[in-house]
Amino acid sequence: MSEYAIEMMGITKTFPGVIANDKVNLQVREKEIHALLGENGAGKSTLMSILFGAYSADSGTISIHGKQIEIKNPNIATELGIGMVHQHFKLVQNYTVTENIVLGMEPTKMGGILDLGTAGKRVAEISNKYGLAVDPSSIIEEITVGQQQRVEILKTLYRNANIIIFDEPTAVLTPQEVDELMDILRLLREEGKTIILITHKLKEIKDVADRCTVLRRGKYIGTVDVASVTEQDLAEMMVGRSVNFEIDKPEMEAGEVVLSMQNVFVENSSGLEKVKDLSLDVCAGEIVGIAGVDGNGQTELLEAIIGLTPTSKGSIFLDGEEITHLTIRDRIERGLGYIPEDRHKYGLVGQFSIYENCALKNYYQDIYRNKYDLLDFAKMHSDAEVLIEQFDIRAGEGALTPAASLSGGNQQKVIVAREISLSPKVLVVAQPTRGLDVGAIEYIRKRIIEERGKGRAILLVSFELDEIMNLCDRIATISKGSIVAVNRQHEVTEREIGMMMAGSKKEEAIV
């Protein structure tokens, strides 16, 4: 038997015009946890799609357990014992754990009758063996995200996978669940499984991985023993230059309350109460972060502030004026800025050019009227050119570039430029750095801190706890639609926030 469970050598995959993988090597030893590190767009997903048979490589070879093999489709990968735990779970919400696990290869008895009893037993067996505590008979939508992930892992084990790929597995977990997952990964390794961990979180790699392969812009940078390198080394390999992790945030005194939510209730589109009796103030010159696991009412709360979703009870005040029932445009005119989580859906009109997007919120105002009282496209254009310059937006055709053809980071810069250029009193920011590369992340964070310096009140929602911990002056932890506690930045630990995110109310001082 070969030393390597997986050997992908000289893998090249070009999509017309772009080289997603350029002679990439990946050698994963038997029974190790091998991290695959790289920024967004570095080619991690493409490489894994090739391993999984979703794409075929232009050149290069793949060997599994020392045998060279052509993986033409995902079924072959499954037969070879390769399993994948996707970042977004592929589970049927109203099926039980067992039903989900056997889906696609249901055991039958007496020629066609579903035999869930036997299946359930086997699921219980596997989950005991690997310490994956989950009740086989519970319904998916009633168990936690951490447990759902375990179901995904069980699915691969049920299919006898001995090589398991984890795609950004910690993105949706609380810090405690992350710890538990790390334990599970170690146990899987002890039981003889080979694991590939796709991630961009250096801490996790240091924590659990044996070796690490780094990709950058489709190129193979190298493979290192994790024990022999520092996080800083890994970061430099990933980005290609030295990286400053420290966020430089000057101390400053918060001013008056600008945004105030008082006993707010919000229902989602299917009538579920997602925000319950939530009260929170944001002052001028301060960043308040909302920490919490995805789906605990953050989205609904922000939508209610912006006006996309009605507030069913309670009131929202902006600078002392009630805005609870105002139209979205009225709120914008009173100084409410919004950097949405889903920039394609809510932030930009893809087919519009940059200048049209920059004017999206104030095109109707007098500043964009020419002497014939028509839209002054020339002014929109020149204003946008200024923003492109100021915010370092990289666009091939300048202000005329369609927004859809920009990279994610530049799209986000267009939105940030627009919102900041409107000089809002309150800036509501959701997941501002999601999916961006390190350079853009640094830039966007710097801009947010600058806005704080100008005395804006900033409300930040992020699922990256690091971002919240570093950026915010006060941190409000949300769980099941209510604020559990509000703490000053340095008066709370990541661990305590994790506990509160999971819903346990401790005796934290409410500031």
């Binding site: 999509f15 017309p16 015009g17 445009r329 914008i332 859906k345 809510y346 009109v349 839209l375």
Partner: protein
């Protein structure tokens, strides 16, 4: 990504694709004629004659054909604008036919019952047609904006209501029989004696001026006003438009009303320009439906829709000529149908492209 972009550019050159699609439609039509054992050349002779008035077979020139082609084009273009306007705001207005019928009915009613004052009479009738068309479209817009009723369903329903309502109303008009009313007074007609003179008594009338004004107005509203700006944003990305404070609900309701106004105008022009009496409809004229195809071929732009409307007018005028040359006139419908199918294929290609772009983007962002 680069590739996707380049490909998108090519697809975005919509005008080029439309021309290609039209040529492809004619090519298929040519092959079909050959397959049924006729001479395809005759179709092109008929088409040439309908555009230029020149009869290749006997070398005679009759400018009347030019006038008729232009006259046929007017309702196609206006109904095309109707479809296109809604389309730009992200709506699918299949109700052009109903709006057209209502406009026609209103024009006929005013023509027969209104004050027979020169100029004022036909202007009032045309205005009535526009207003009632806007009303008929506006109903759909309000239903859609306020109650999220699918505009596809409500427009189809309203088409039938319009047809039978039109019959009920027209049967009450002076001199009504089962298929026509009394003749209109002279003051209600929009004929143009100068046009008649230079086009050898074709039906070409003042409607063509109204059509040109409508095309300009369409372009002006869409491209130059903040109303159009908000509407285009709504059409491209309703959610982003809403989040940016654009009154999406208002845009939708208003766009359907404007859309209906164009179709209503078409109805008024056909009623007062191409006929001397009111018609009691027994079936639909189909201008409204064919407007959908016109807008598709014209990519919902002002100029594109106008050119596509001319094409459809030419085909319609060529039908009789083709029959006289033993070419089944149905071939023109087949060509129109093929053009629409090819255009639809392009939309499918675009959807596929968008899907692939999204996937590659998701891959880049690392989201599966």
């Amino acid at each position: 990504m680069m590739h996707a972009k380049r490909k998108q550019r090519l697809l975005q050159s919509d005008a080029a694709v439309s021309v290609l699609v039209v040529l492809l439609g004619f090519l298929c039509g040519t092959i079909l004629i050959a397959l049924v054992g006729k001479n395809p050349l005759n179709m092109y002779k008929a088409l040439l004659q309908s555009v230029s008035g020149y009869n290749v077979d006997n070398g005679k020139m009759n400018v009347r054909y030019i006038g008729e082609t232009l006259n046929y084009s007017v309702p196609f273009i206006l109904c095309g604008l109707s479809m296109a306007f809604a389309n730009r705001v992200g709506l699918f207005n299949i109700g052009g036919e109903g709006q057209y019928i209502m406009g026609m009915t209103m024009a006929q009613t005013i023509a027969l019952l209104g004050p027979a004052i020169p100029y004022f009479h036909w202007m009032l009738a045309i205005l009535g047609a526009v207003v009632v068309g806007a009303f008929w479209g506006g109903i759909v817009g309000i239903l859609k904006a306020k109650y999220e009723v699918s505009e596809v369903v409500s427009t189809i329903m309203l088409n039938y209501i319009a047809l039978y309502l039109s019959r009920i109303i027209c049967l009450q008009l002076p001199g009504a029989t089962t298929y026509k009313t009394a003749n209109f007074p002279e003051t209600a007609l929009i004929g143009n004696s100068f046009f008649q003179k230079i086009t050898n008594n074709s039906m070409l009338n003042n409607g063509i001026f109204m059509m040109i004004i409508a095309v300009l107005l369409y372009w002006f509203i869409m491209e130059k006003t903040s109303l159009g700006y908000g509407m285009r944003a709504t059409g491209f990305n309703k959610e982003a438009a809403r989040a940016s404070g654009i009154p999406v609900v208002k845009s939708i309701a208003l766009s359907m009303a404007i859309s209906g106004a164009f179709a209503g105008l078409a109805g008024g022009i056909v009623a007062l320009g191409s006929f001397k009496y009111g018609r009691v409809l027994s079936g639909m004229d189909n201008y409204g439906f064919e407007g959908i195809a016109v807008a598709l071929v014209g990519n919902s732009t002002a100029l594109g829709t106008m050119l596509a409307g001319f094409l459809f007018g030419m085909l319609k005028n060529a039908q009789a000529l083709m029959q006289s040359k033993q070419i089944p006139k149905e071939i023109t419908f087949i060509i129109q149908g093929l053009i629409v199918i090819f255009i639809a294929l392009r939309s499918a290609l675009k959807l596929y492209q968008e899907y692939m772009d999204k996937r590659s983007l998701q891959k880049e962002v690392g989201v599966k």
